[in-house]
């Protein structure tokens, strides 16, 4: 297992909804827990992954995610079991969209 932490500043979008989890910790899948949190305007992402050694790819995927949504005061926690970057991006978008009232 490997734990990765990212923190992004300069977000503008704050989420109001209650904490929510999407996805399942199964092979090639992940769960994303998304919560509003007082983080001084930052968006933090903590990833616990079974796939060790993919830090640079996670960082790129997280950077893209932050640019898409520009979240502020949001804590995201991920339990991953070897999801591909595309699956990770889709799940994270699903998490945000659920918080914004989509489904």
């Amino acid at each position: 297992m490997e734990t990765l932490n990212y923190r992004f500043e300069q977000g503008t979008q704050r989420l109001k909804a209650a904490p929510h989890v999407v996805g399942v910790v199964g092979s090639g899948n992940l769960e994303v827990l998304i919560e509003p949190a007082d983080l001084g305007g930052a968006c933090t992402i903590e990833i616990t992954t079974a796939a060790v050694g993919f830090g640079p790819i996670w960082e790129a995927v997280m950077r893209d995610f932050h640019q898409r949504w520009l979240l502020a005061d949001t804590r995201i926690s991920i339990n991953d079991m070897g999801a591909t970057p595309a699956v990770v991006s889709l799940r994270m978008d699903q998490a945000v969209q659920t918080m914004l009232g989509g489904s």
């Binding site: 297992m1 904490p19 989890v21 399942v24 910790v25 199964g26 899948n29 769960e31 827990l33 919560e35 616990t48 992954t49 079974a50 926690s77 339990n79 991953d80 079991m81």
Partner: protein, 297 residues
């Protein structure tokens, strides 16, 4: 409405109960995760693979749990089991109208060894305590991981089991039987044989489940509602008479069918017309064909 089998645990909770009525106890944001998996360098889930809480079913408040088959096959670890036990004990304390368990589990989570085994036995005891308090328990089995091992036993402790044909209910899973007794005994790769043996239709004919529905969340919802309505006013407690009747049914079953190698042979021996075609029937035609032939109550 969609497939029950393809939905995950949280989707089932959202779609099976009245809209937005599910209120979770110990939600994922509380991060009550397994203390064992981390030590084994294995991934954890924020809900340890089970969501527990209260929800409304046709306006009636029930307590409910949904196991997530996608996380370690729904296997019961220490925290997972403790959440189930806590839910069941709280059901007794709060005199809730009923408990509806969405079971999907391979049984004990072997990573957690004795803690998992103890957890499952505590779930059984807690479930029987719920019934002894006069509260009926309905179990739904329709996930792709079925209800096996300890959770198979837990399921059969309920007042009513509702299954789809795709759901499976048994003690040892097919691969366990094949490993222990050889491929001649049970070929776990023969999917038709596996579902003929463990699937909802055979369980319904054998009296191991009381209702069978199509693989559809709305159908499970309706069956759960009907089951609770039918149980209202009846004794929920498991009595000695019921246990003895069950034992007698099992004795007769092994006497009548114990030597038969395949469920189709059993269905023929039960005088079901065109037994070989049973797996091909849709659920309504199947229930009609099962008619008075099926065992149990």
């Amino acid at each position: 409405m969609g497939s029950y089998q393809e939905a995950n645990a949280r989707e089932r909770l959202q779609q099976l109960f009245d809209p937005n009525s599910f209120e979770e106890f110990l939600p994922p944001s509380q991060r009550v995760v397994s203390p064992h998996l981390g030590q084994l360098n294995a991934p954890v889930a924020f809900d340890d693979g089970v969501a527990v809480g209260r929800a409304k079913l046709g306006g009636i408040t029930v307590y409910t749990a949904a196991q997530e088959g996608g996380f370690m096959g729904g296997a019961v670890g220490e925290v997972h089991g403790a959440k189930l036990v806590g839910l069941l004990r709280r059901a007794v304390r709060d005199h809730v109208a009923a408990v509806v368990l969405l079971v999907e589990s391979g049984g004990v989570r072997l990573h957690e060894a004795n803690a998992g085994l103890i957890a499952v036995s505590e779930v059984m005891r807690a479930l029987l305590d719920v019934r002894a308090a006069g509260i009926p328990v309905v179990v739904l089995v329709g996930g792709s991981n079925g209800a096996f091992g300890g959770m198979g036993i837990v399921s059969r402790c309920a007042n009513v089991v509702v299954m789809s044909e795709e759901g499976r209910l048994a003690m040892s899973g097919p691969e366990v039987i094949e490993t222990a007794s050889g491929v001649e005994e049970f070929d776990s790769r023969d999917r038709a044989l596996v579902w003929r043996t463990n699937g909802g239709k055979h369980r319904y004919l054998m009296g191991d489940c009381q209702r069978i529905v199509a693989d559809d969340i709305a159908a499970f919802r309706e069956a759960a509602r009907e089951a609770l309505a039918a149980l209202a006013g009846h004794q929920a407690e498991l009595t000695l008479e019921t246990l003895e009747a069950e034992q007698q049914m099992l004795d007769e079953r092994i006497t009548r069918f114990g030597a038969l190698p395949d469920p189709v042979d059993i269905w023929s021996a039960m005088h079901i017309a065109d037994a070989a075609n049973i797996p091909m029937l849709d659920v309504d035609s199947f229930i009609a064909a099962a008619g008075q032939h099926r065992l149990g109550v």
